[in-house]
């Protein structure tokens, strides 16, 4: 398989293009994603290739078009919707949690809902409190929904492909601070297993760091800092929040005896608590210290650059959390 260096943004576009070529029942809807290629250019060129019927600009009506996606999914299509900022998931929350996530179950498992919600979230770009959330936790408790997080171009590529092929609703969270990051992508790879769960990105013996989205590169940077000081951290990208599979994490902690989770959201209600609780449950006797969690402070993300930077977990802060466990 050819490997190409792509940006995260290009990886998204490539995944969309290939899946839309592969399956004529796929289509994508969202605000200003047509001729303009999308506010974040994550649909660049799709309109030209697939036309307005399959690359569809919508009115500003998230409830309307996300609900419409459910109607499409129930009647033979495989819709993809783009939510421009993850923060706007709040506007169509009902359609997602009460409609999309529950429809199959309420039908007795007699309908399928092959539907992808791509949503672009995250802080660090000084967009203020209403345009910087990842939205990860809002739906963490919603059965019937799959939730995946793309931390790098190759993950964005395979996950999105797998999500589109999945017969269930999948929320794919992308991170706007990663859009221009580059990485090798194995173009044309079959996405089998891409939704299967956590992935070890760096092996280590002294501590396990689990991170999501933009915290993954920061966790890797923290591992570099730690390594310079003689501590070898294993870094895991959690990737799939729902259904959550912590077995690889538990296995890692049985080896390293220490766990630090890193997430770009407040501590209470975050996935780190679940990981910590499961690890404690499964690997209680292997832990040399209670799991630590590095999170956002418990207030909305501030606009001012100095404050936003201070709020976001830095590689130094992550490394410090690991050191504190040693």
């Amino acid at each position: 398989m050819p490997t190409e260096e792509l940006t995260y943004r290009e990886a998204i576009v490539a995944a969309l293009r290939e899946e839309m070529q592969r399956d004529p029942t796929t289509l994508i809807m969202g605000e200003d994603i047509g001729a303009s290629g999308g506010p974040f250019k994550t649909c660049l060129g799709l309109y030209e290739e697939f036309g307005p019927a399959r690359v569809r600009d919508t009115p500003i009506a998230e409830t309307g078009f996300v609900g419409a996606a459910l109607g499409l999914a129930l009647t033979g299509f495989r819709p993809i919707v783009e939510i421009m900022f993850s923060d706007f998931l709040g506007v169509c929350f009902d359609q997602i949690v009460n409609g999309i996530a529950k429809h199959r179950f309420m039908s007795g498992g007699r309908v399928k809902v092959p539907l992808v919600i791509r949503s672009i979230g995250g802080g660090g770009l000084r967009f203020g409190a209403q345009h910087s959330q990842t939205g990860e936790s809002w739906m963490l408790s919603v059965p019937g929904l799959k939730i995946v997080c793309a931390s790098a171009p190759d993950v964005a590529y395979t996950m999105l492909k797998a999500a589109i092929r999945d017969d269930n609703p999948v929320l794919v969270i992308e991170h706007k601070a990663l859009l221009s990051t580059k990485g090798d992508v194995a173009i044309g790879t079959e996405p089998d297993g891409a939704l299967s769960g956590p992935k070890i990105l760096r092996t280590g013996s002294d501590a396990t760091i689990v991170a999501s989205l933009a915290m993954v590169p920061r966790a890797l940077a923290a591992a570099d800092l730690l390594s310079a000081g003689g501590i070898e951290a294993e870094v895991i990208d959690i990737r799939v929040l729902r259904p959550m599979d912590t077995r690889p994490i538990c296995k890692s902690v049985r080896k390293t005896h220490r766990l630090v989770t890193v997430e770009e959201q407040a501590q209470v209600g975050g996935w780190g608590a679940e990981v910590a609780a499961q690890v404690v449950h499964e690997a209680f006797d292997y832990l040399d210290a209670p799991p630590a969690r590095v999170c956002l402070p418990d207030y909305p993300l501030p606009y001012s650059p100095v404050l936003e930077d201070a709020a976001l977990p830095s590689p130094e802060a992550i490394a410090a959390a690991v050191r504190a466990l040693m």
Partner: protein, 350 residues
């Protein structure tokens, strides 16, 4: 003060504006021919819906139906009339008060009862319940318990129909109260802008739960809301099953041939309370009485009898037979097994 310079819109606008002017009173020019057979079928379907709901009520009192249930006695003409205008491969979304639509689309009555009773043989295996009867094989894409929730979903099915290009349409049934929620508005706008083959059938029964429409809405003729989307719209006597059928058939024809969506307001009334616990004391007895006198089953029966379509006495036989069919189906359903409490992974994810 000069009018602001404006670019002229695309040519599609003209058609849209035309559509807006099509707001009319249903049944102006009966160009939809109904055979006597059709008429009998309409009457029989209304009787079936009525008898189904009455049986649900009895079963509820016997403890067989759980939680709550929202019945549609008095509104049978809307489901029966509208659904007769549909094809087998059309799509329908509806609400917690959707038993009528399910029956009018041919849902198996025993499976419906079994669902209401929470049994394994229920149309949703007992997982859905009274508010969530779904049968995708009949285009019954879903009953939505969140007010307005099903309207955008029907719009998506309409987009599906448009893309498939086989002349299907999608119909969304909802209540007067639902026209005050955002989902309705977003769905209407999208359907019109994309010229989707969607019929918005508003069952204006004058009440939300316990609030009369004038308490929550600036006027009673909800058809006026369609103008906000330049959508074709029609107001129809929702207790006149033929009028409903005709308005729906006309709108369906237009939608199938690319003419876009239509808003159909059906004036009707629910005979009972909002749900099982509601004695509906908040209604003016005179209002109730006036509407009971306009019971769609009584007026249609009288009309058919007068026209000689329904031999006098035959209606009683139809009612009797429907009643015993419903009773038998309910008995069968009540004898069915409870679902096994097992792993629901397969019901949750495909």
């Amino acid at each position: 003060m000069a009018a602001p310079a404006r670019q002229s819109g695309p040519s599609i606008m003209t058609t849209r504006e035309q559509a807006a002017s099509e707001v009319s009173s249903g049944g102006a020019g009966r160009n939809v021919r109904l055979t006597d057979e059709n008429r009998l079928a309409l009457y029989t379907m209304m009787v079936d819906i009525r008898e189904f709901e009455e049986q649900v009520q009895r079963s509820y009192l016997e403890g067989l139906v759980h939680g709550t249930t929202h019945l549609c006695q008095g509104q049978e003409a809307v489901a029966a009339g509208a659904c007769l205008a549909l094809r087998q491969d059309d799509y329908v979304s509806y609400t917690y008060r959707g038993h009528g639509q399910c029956l009018a689309r041919g849902m198996d009555v025993e499976a419906a009862f079994a669902e209401l009773f929470g049994r394994e043989t229920g149309v949703c295996g007992g997982l859905g319940g009274s508010m969530h009867l779904t049968d995708i094989s009949r285009g019954l894409i879903g009953a939505f318990g969140i007010v307005g929730g099903g309207i955008p979903v029907a719009v998506g099915a309409g987009l599906s129909a448009q893309l498939a290009g086989r002349g299907q349409i999608s119909v969304s049934f909802f209540g007067d109260g639902a026209t005050n929620i955002g989902a309705f508005h977003e769905a209407m706008n999208i359907a019109q802008v994309w010229r989707l083959p969607v019929l918005f059938v508003c069952e204006n029964n004058l009440y939300g739960e316990f609030s009369r429409i004038d308490h929550t809405t600036p006027f009673e003729d909800l058809v006026r809301r369609a103008a906000a989307y330049a959508m074709a719209a029609v107001i129809v006597d929702g207790n006149d099953v033929e009028a409903v059928h005709e308005a729906t058939a006309e709108a369906a024809d237009r939608a199938r041939s690319g003419g876009g969506p239509t808003f159909i307001e059906c004036k009707t009334y629910r005979h009972r309370g909002h749900s099982r616990t509601d004695p509906a004391k908040y209604r003016d007895p005179a209002e109730v009485e006036a509407w009971l006198a306009r019971d769609p089953l009584i007026t249609y029966r009288a009309g058919l009898e007068a026209a000689g379509v329904l031999p006098v006495g035959e209606a009683d036989a139809i009612i009797e037979s429907s009643r015993s069919r419903m009773k038998a189906a309910a008995q069968q359903a009540a004898a069915a097994a409870w679902p096994q409490s097992h792993d629901f992974a397969a019901a949750t994810f495909a």
